[in-house]
Amino acid sequence: MYLSRLEIHGFKSFADRMVVDFSPGVTVIVGPNGCGKSNIVDAVRWVIGEQRARILRSEKMDNIIFNGTSNRRSLGMSEVLLTIENTRGVLPTEYEEVTIGRRLFRSGESEYLLNGIQCRLKDITDLFMDTGMGAGAYSVIELKMIEDILSDSTQDRRHMFEEAA
């Protein structure tokens, strides 16, 4: 099982639609400060179900929608699609390929998608149950979290161990 494609449109600094094809193995993302690398990481956290705006470095969830530049108007919607190759059948579904999606409109309405069909958030979190992939799992790590993993508050550490049990 691996991530095979990520499509971002209207999420943070990605005003235009961007498609990234991933392969297994080790991929690096590079670029100057402020160009949008961590925004890609946030897009993955968001599409797999992250509900806390603070984790996405935002005050309110609608801050993740592209809010314009000096030459462009802000957009009304943000959409991220993530395609997962389910080759080893880790995800509890008979599909070979699974695409999850999430949309947020300025109006505050949000949608979740599973292979193009609207579904509930619960359908997506159920899909990831016990695969180590959900929003609470430790698959997305930034430097600041390294401090937390070792931090004095052993509560954080216990949570990691419980996730694995």
């Binding site: 430790y138 698959s139 070792l150 052993t154």
Partner: protein, 159 residues
């Protein structure tokens, strides 16, 4: 539930000691202990680390780079018990010196059969050790764009 936690904990403990030596070299030892072994479900978890030749110390006395390596060893010892299909690391290599970047990338390489890695980095040594590289730029200020994929390690791409 507590029996399951017990076996998971023991497996992580074992992995952590092995991985710590892999990252810090011979002579280094580290362990994870339950502060209150009788209360599996509530006890806090302590981490003790001893880089080679030094006295064992608590985590706050470790250096920036040593802390990062210790956290990586802990993370991967959990992955060994419950592999995660993918792992995204955002500039976790920033505090590491060249020698530790190499050890870190060797560890990543040894896990890359079961886990897919996506690393955000500014470090050229990390870039060279990857399979694929994507560049992100902002040709129009404030709007991100994908630059291109370079398989042949053509580093000028991101100069």
């Amino acid at each position: 539930a507590s029996k399951r936690f017990g076996t998971t904990f023991a497996a992580i403990q074992n992995n952590f000691s092995k991985l710590f030596v892999e990252l810090f070299g011979e002579g280094a030892t580290a362990e994870i202990v339950l502060e209150d072994p009788d209360d599996l479900l509530e006890s806090p978890i302590e981490v003790l680390a001893k880089p080679s030749g030094k006295k064992p110390c608590i985590l706050t006395q470790l250096s920036g780079g040593e802390k990062t390596l210790t956290a990586i060893a802990l993370l991967f010892s959990i992955y060994l018990v419950k592999p995660s299909p993918f792992c995204i690391l955002d500039e976790v290599d920033a505090p590491l010196d060249d020698a530790n970047i190499d050890r870190f990338m060797n560890l990543i390489r040894s896990f890359s059969d079961s886990t897919q890695f996506v690393l955000v980095t500014h470090n050229k040594r990390t870039m060279e050790a990857a399979d694929r590289m994507y560049g992100i730029t902002m040709p129009e200020q404030g709007v991100s764009r994908l630059v291109g994929v370079s398989f042949d390690h053509d580093l000028q791409l991101i100069a």
